[in-house]
């Protein structure tokens, strides 16, 4: 066995993929899974926008339960089966070991099961949309809508078990990431030399490990309420439906940081690379990431201002939420300061990164508006909220995904994307998403409620613009799929570092694509990684 070269260790055929224990292969499978999930989530959202294009829309045949099923599936698929597998599973798996100079992840088999559990989770989520009346609970699954009263058939149970499976997958994956980062850094790779993407994956994993088990407990109790006659959330037996909201949002709010933090990390590295400058204020960026994680665990009830919180709780949750704007602001100003005086190149990844800064900041500012308990009671459950969180997620996290894709695709598959089509994709997406979500703020501010498939005539023009924007976004996604397929199969061969002196992290020292096993001899990290020579 000793005389085998590393190349001969590469398993062949179906075993390589189905039984994989290689972080790169598992990362690639996650990325493909994420694209498939993203397409599924996009289709749901396009149908939603078709229904809402005109008042009295009849696309779903007047079936309002079906509309809510689409809303639920859109949210859950985008969060659990598109953004998380892409940012954490895909880029995390591919690049955390490369960025810290580790030969693989700490627990390769565990890595594989976290991917393969996503397939049953997606199948169960799919079943929840087609079985019986479907799960029209929204991703928040509040009882009694999600209890037997609201959804008597199997659909919601499928949804709850789907979340259990996705949750186990995320917990095992996070455990793996944290162990890898703590235990497997190359000699000299101190914590404060780790690239920011690694830091964000570390904090994201910690958030998942702290909050997902609480959600798991909550949905387990919902399952027993539905099927075994317990009364955890049923007031007739002494239970408390608001308690479910607490358990859900104790997970649900950190979840939004789980989604956005890895995007922060990718954006930081892209901006540093394309400004040919180290990240401005690296240490304060790290502490900003950490404090977003810590504070993010203590603000969950700002999603529940209308349930009848006590005034003191409202004040606390408003104030704590506003405090998060401080570390987030540190990050935004650090990105701007990184660009300041830099020799900036606006390739596609940098377009996505700058687009991210602009749009994420707008979404963050409407977040400050919504964090105010008094304002929130007025704006609660309106399209203003929908506009707000799509600015931070659909333009924040997803721009991070696309930015990461264009930044790293040459490293992943050894071929470079066609620059001009990348830019066309960016501009169409940028215009499209703004057309969708800017009008939502206006109709929401005027009181248009979420999760209702119809609206008064007065909101018609704005909704029409939003729907046109959605079609444009869908078209830009077709372009993206074309770009992705073209890159993987026909793209120009890429050198090991296509971005020049700005790209200083370890992955660019490897050939593109990297060999099956990398850093079998640990690299030595000397000096300050963030100094550009």
């Amino acid at each position: 066995m000793n005389e085998h070269t590393p190349h001969e260790h590469t398993p062949k055929g179906w075993r390589r993929w189905l039984l994989s224990t290689n972080h790169k292969d598992i990362g690639s499978m996650y990325l493909i899974f994420s694209i498939i999930g993203g397409i599924a989530g996009l289709i749901f959202s396009i149908v939603i926008r078709m229904q809402l294009a005109h008042p009295g829309g009849t696309v779903l045949g007047g079936n309002h339960q079906l509309y809510n099923v689409f809303i639920t599936s859109h949210a859950l698929i985008m969060i659990f089966f598109a953004v998380m597998p892409g940012l954490i599973g895909g880029f995390g798996n591919w690049f955390v070991p490369l960025l810290i100079g580790a030969p693989d992840m700490a627990f390769p088999r565990l890595n594989n099961i976290s991917f393969w559990l996503m397939i049953p989770a997606l199948i169960m989520a799919g079943l929840s949309t087609v079985v019986g009346m479907g799960a029209g609970t929204g991703w928040t699954m509040y009882p009694p809508l999600s209890s037997l009263t609201g959804h008597p058939d199997m659909a919601v149970d499928f949804l709850l078990f789907s979340l259990h499976l996705a949750g186990v997958s995320s917990i095992l994956g996070s455990l793996n990431f944290i162990t890898t980062i703590i235990n497997m850094r190359a000699p000299g790779m101190d914590f404060f030399k780790m690239p920011l993407f690694v830091w964000t994956i570390l904090v994201t994993s910690a958030l998942l490990l702290i909050t997902l088990p609480v959600l798991a407990g909550g949905i387990t109790m919902l399952i027993t309420d539905r099927n075994f006659g317990t009364t955890f959330f049923d007031p007739s037996g002494g239970g408390d439906p608001v308690l479910f909201q607490h358990l859900f949002w104790f997970f649900g709010h950190p979840e939004v940081y789980v989604i956005i933090l890895p995007a922060f990390g990718i954006i930081s590295q892209i901006i540093s690379t394309f400004s040919k400058k180290p990240v401005f204020g690296y240490v304060s960026m790290v502490y900003a990431i950490l404090s977003i994680g810590v504070i993010g665990c203590g603000v969950w009830a700002h999603h529940m201002f209308t349930v009848g919180l006590s005034p003191s709780a409202t004040v606390y949750f408003s104030a704590a939420t506003m405090v998060i704007a401080v570390p987030t602001g540190i990050k935004v100003f650090s990105w701007l300061a990184t660009m300041w005086g830099g020799s900036i190149r606006f390739d596609t990844p940098m377009l996505f990164a700058t687009g991210f800064i602009l749009l994420f900041t707008l979404g963050g500012l409407t977040g400050v508006v919504l964090s105010n308990g008094g304002m929130n009671i007025v704006l609660h459950d309106t399209y203003y909220v929908v506009g707000h969180f799509h600015y931070v997620l659909s333009m924040g996290a997803v721009f991070g995904l696309f930015g990461g894709f264009y930044y790293w695709i040459s490293k992943i598959c050894g071929r470079q994307y066609p620059e001009i089509w990348g830019r066309i994709h960016f501009w169409m997406l940028f215009i499209g998403v703004n057309m969708i979500f800017i009008p939502m703020h206006f109709v929401g501010y005027n009181g248009m409620p979420r999760r209702i498939p119809d609206y008064p005539q007065a909101f018609a023009p704005m909704n029409y613009i939003a729907s046109i924007g959605a079609y444009l976004t869908a078209f830009s996604t077709l372009i993206f799929l074309g770009v992705a397929l073209y890159t993987v199969f026909r793209g120009k061969k890429a050198q090991s570092n296509p971005w020049g002196v700005g790209a200083t992290t370890l992955e660019w020292t490897l050939p593109s694509p990297p060999p099956y096993h990398t850093f079998e001899t640990p690299p030595h990290i000397g000096g300050d990684l963030h100094e550009h020579k």
């Binding site: 917990i171 006659g229 007739s236 002494g238 239970g239 358990l247």
Partner: protein, 264 residues
């Protein structure tokens, strides 16, 4: 994998177990829904078998690998320990959700149950009956598992096996007493908020005790096998001991809050 490896970490060849367990998990969850709605238990049963089989195969592979000191280096063991600590952390958060429900209901008892805790008219279990015995059993098992740990550190394999066996017996008797208590409890799972939280929290704790006992039983049989567990190398026993202390600690919280705290 080979002697030319220049880093201390474990690179694993492709393994079938993750896929087997994942597909088993699909059948398990699908089967659970079918069982709850249609009383159809076949899918659930096949899924459970696949998950258990996959776990068994995985565990077997790890035991085989652990005998090869070129694979199980100090760094790999360190990784396993970090992983176990994180896993125990998530388990703690899992129990947090049930304690959250319990305190939500017991500190602010709703009108339906008479605005008192325990609910009006409900007979709760005397904590100084079987629960107290169970507390002592678990605390004692905590000391015997520590005895086993110190024995192996001093290379006393005989005491190690004895103390480990005692721990398993104590764990099993805990489970038996718990089953007895459930069987004779004056309320049912579906009997309102107190029974719901009681059975949920103690039930999940019982399941964790059972899991920890299995972990210790595997350690016991390995300690009886030549070549397993030496003075220097007994990581999996250490992990089992940590897990055992964790279920012990959870029990103390259960005993104080759910048994003693609901006793009138």
């Amino acid at each position: 994998m080979s002697s030319e490896k220049k880093h201390p970490f474990q690179i694993i060849d492709p393994s079938p177990w993750p896929l087997v367990i994942s597909m088993g998990a699909l059948l398990l969850t699908l089967g659970a829904v079918l069982a709850m709605h249609n009383k159809d238990f076949i899918t659930l049963f096949i899924g459970a078998l696949m998950v258990l089989g996959g776990c068994g195969g995985w565990w077997r592979d790890m035991i085989i690998e652990s005998k090869d000191t070129s694979i199980y280096t100090k760094e790999v063991k360190n990784g396993l320990k970090i992983g176990m600590l994180i896993f125990i952390g998530t388990e703690i958060m899992f129990f947090v959700s049930f304690f959250w429900v319990y305190f939500n209901a017991s500190l602010f008892p709703p009108e339906v149950i008479g605005s008192v805790w325990p609910p009006k008219g409900l007979k709760t279990i005397d904590p100084f009956d079987l629960p107290y015995l169970n507390t002592l059993l678990l605390l004692l098992s905590g000391t015997t598992v520590t005895w086993a740990h110190h024995s192996i550190i001093e290379g006393n394999k005989k005491d190690f096996t004895l103390a480990l066996g005692l721990t398993i017996l104590l764990g099993l008797s805990f489970t038996c007493f718990q089953a007895f208590e459930y069987y004779h409890a004056p309320f049912l799972f579906k009997g309102g908020i107190y029974p719901s939280t009681f059975y949920m929290a103690t039930g999940f704790h019982g399941a964790h005790v059972f899991l920890g006992t299995i972990f210790l039983i595997v350690c016991y049989f390995r300690s009886k096998t030549q070549g397993h567990y030496t003075q220097e190398s007994h990581t999996s026993f250490e992990l089992a001991a940590w897990y055992w202390h964790f279920v012990d600690a959870v029990w103390l919280f259960l005993f104080i809050s759910i048994y003693y705290g609901s006793w009138r």
